[in-house]
């Protein structure tokens, strides 16, 4: 997901809040990759070896969904993992030291100012995010470990453009604008100040609301495999992409993947046009070819195309 917005508008706060809202994960004790003890398929090499050696159930513990921050000057070594120099120097052993991708497995990887990140790093991250596996072949190491995470990038588009190929590989985009309403800003500042003064009391106050939202998300997750997409909605999605001239098929695929969770959250068993309309701007806004002479923002173009769709 890509978040466009100025500094200080609450982007990383929202991402961390999301991670803490989700129900805690069960992970194998002592595993650097947060492996799921219940699923034998997606285990890291160490856990797989333990499982094969006869351990029926791997010892598990409960952790919160990990949110890993990618610092701006990160090198490929730190991100993907590299040779463990300490062990090599001290014990002359060749071992793999997991990087940030390993820690972000089954969680979120948050990159601030993704438009300033080096291109080869963004390529690496998008490849791993798409395939779900991190493959290391360097310095005599040959490692393959699971790395399924949600990549969230944020940035100010005025400070630097992301290449269109990279933009296209992000699924959804969100536009965070500075609140024009002073009352909204006052409320945000007051809430944050209250949290800073007494975090525990604040969390206890809002625990009820958070629990309600968490239950909704868990119920929607259970309902998701049963949600059906009727043909009319599929045709409308295709018509929308053709009307907007979005390149490639990713736009359409994202639309059809994002609409069912919307319906599941609503409690419906079938995707309706309203759900398609609600996800269309965030799925398509960043995929359109921009005419430099055209003043109209991409979000508006999507909305206009939506109005012309048959209901």
């Amino acid at each position: 997901m890509l978040i466009f917005g100025d500094r200080g508008t609450g982007k990383s706060t929202a991402v961390r809040a999301l991670a803490s809202l989700l129900p805690p994960l069960r992970s194998v004790e002592g595993c650097a990759y947060n492996c799921d003890p219940g699923r034998a398929a997606g285990l890291c090499p160490t856990c797989r070896a333990r499982h094969a050696a006869g351990a029926k159930t791997l010892p598990a513990r409960s952790i919160a969904a990990p949110v890993v921050d990618l610092p701006l000057g990160a090198t490929e070594d730190r991100v993907a993992g590299a040779l463990d120099i300490e062990r090599a120097l001290a014990r002359s052993e060749k071992a793999f030291e997991p990087g940030l991708l390993a820690r972000a497995n089954r969680g979120f990887l948050y990159i601030d100012e993704v438009n300033l990140l080096e291109d080869h790093l963004v390529d690496l991250l998008l490849d791993v995010a798409a395939s779900g596996e991190n493959v290391i072949e360097r310095e005599g190491l040959s490692i393959r470990h699971p790395a399924r995470f949600v990549l969230i990038g944020s940035g100010n588009p005025e400070e630097g453009e992301l290449r269109p190929q990279l933009l296209d590989r992000f699924g959804l985009s969100v536009d965070v604008t500075t609140p024009k309403d002073v009352a909204q800003r006052v409320r945000a500042v007051k809430l944050r100040d209250a949290y800073d003064r007494d975090p525990e009391v604040f969390c206890a106050e809002w625990e009820g609301e958070e629990a309600k939202l968490r239950r909704r998300i868990v119920a929607a997750r259970k309902r998701l495999p049963l949600v059906e997409t009727p043909d009319a909605v599929r045709e409308a999605a295709a018509a929308l992409c053709v009307a907007l001239g979005a390149d490639g098929l990713r736009g359409e695929m994202t639309l059809l993947r994002a609409a069912p969770p919307c319906a599941a959250l609503d409690g419906k068993a079938e995707v309706a046009m309203a759900h398609l309309r609600s996800v269309a701007p965030s799925a398509l806004r960043h995929r359109l070819r921009r005419n430099p002479l055209d003043d109209v923002g991409s979000g508006l173009r999507v909305e206009r195309a939506l109005e012309e769709l048959p209901v």
């Binding site: 200080g8 701006l72 601030d112």
Partner: protein, 314 residues
């Protein structure tokens, strides 16, 4: 804070009061972006801040150069000692050592964005970011930053990601040694005890948010830091935050360093009216005009009074 409500705010008095407020709530305020050349004013301010922060040996003061590497900031394997001793030796990073005190960055305008991002992450989380060992609890790193900006030109500034998180924006470049008067009357330990219970009324919060909006400061963080600064100033006085404290916070936290570059309407109008300097006019080739009108145009141009050179750009 000295109650000098009737006098116009003085840069040095404001700066010393800001140092006192920073000592009352170092982690909450984030720190200070101090724009001043190396000299008496800067040395005097830093001495005041160190005096306020506590007796020597109390609060730590860690100085880092602008080209500090990841290893120096975060800590990790000390390669030299490891090779010398033959077993892994780690070094504590600057961020961990500055816990509870001040991280002073020299020549902050040359700081690399990556180093600024690491310090900003530590300010946000209150711990050393991206600790190497996942299972170990992250090290505490609650500190405030003093970014010593020695830049001269307007575009020589510390990285925006860091400046954004510092509440105080001070410019001492215009001060001379004659302006460095004694400003006293700050009781820091008592203010620290009072800080949690100091009230900031809704009216003050709304006034600061409205001021941020009017000044074109889009960031909510700036407004939040202004509120915290008003609270720290009020704690120094031992009262609930009032108009004086709000004005103080607006001067320092919503000041020049932070403004979004949105030119005001009057500035736009002035820029449009400024005539081009003569050299530029000569460099622009004249547009092709039909022969019929050429003579009429030259006669008209000669008759029109030439615009005079602007004496001052106001």
């Amino acid at each position: 804070m000295p109650q000098a409500a009737r006098q116009p705010p003085d840069v040095w008095t404001d700066a010393v009061a800001a140092a006192a407020a920073l000592a009352v709530d170092p982690h909450g305020l984030g720190g200070a972006a101090l724009r001043a050349p190396a000299g008496e004013a800067r040395a005097a301010w830093i001495a005041r801040l160190r005096g306020f922060m506590g007796p020597a040996g109390g609060a730590s003061w860690v100085q880092v150069p602008a080209e500090a590497s990841d290893l120096q900031l975060l800590g990790g394997l000390d390669l030299e000692r490891t090779l010398a001793e033959g077993r892994p030796a780690s070094q504590r990073g600057a961020l961990a050592r500055a816990d509870g005190g001040v991280l002073a960055v020299a020549m902050a305008e040359r700081m690399a964005p990556s180093a600024a991002a690491i310090v900003a992450a530590a300010l946000d989380q209150g711990t050393v970011p991206a600790a190497r060992d996942q299972d170990a609890a992250p090290e505490q790193a609650r500190f405030c930053v003093v970014a010593q900006d020695e830049g001269i030109a307007a575009d020589e500034r510390p990285p925006a990601a860091l400046i954004e998180r510092l509440a105080l924006h001070l410019d001492l470049s215009a001060l001379t040694h004659r302006d460095l008067l004694e400003v006293g009357g700050f009781d820091i330990p008592a203010a620290r005890l009072r800080l949690r219970d100091t009230m900031v009324p809704d009216a003050v919060v709304e006034a600061l948010c409205a001021a941020a909006d009017a000044l074109g400061v889009g960031s909510d963080r700036a407004a939040l830091l202004a509120v915290k600064l008003a609270r720290a100033a009020a704690a120094l006085d031992g009262v609930a935050a009032g108009e004086v404290h709000a004005a103080f916070a607006a001067r320092l936290a919503l000041g020049r360093g932070r403004r979004v570059c949105r030119p005001s309407r009057s500035r736009l109008r002035r820029t449009k009216r400024l005539p081009l300097p003569r050299t530029t006019l000569r460099a622009i080739p004249p547009p092709p005009i039909p022969i019929r009108f050429a003579g009429w145009m030259t006669r008209w141009c000669r008759r029109r009074p030439r615009p005079s050179r602007p004496t001052s750009l106001r």
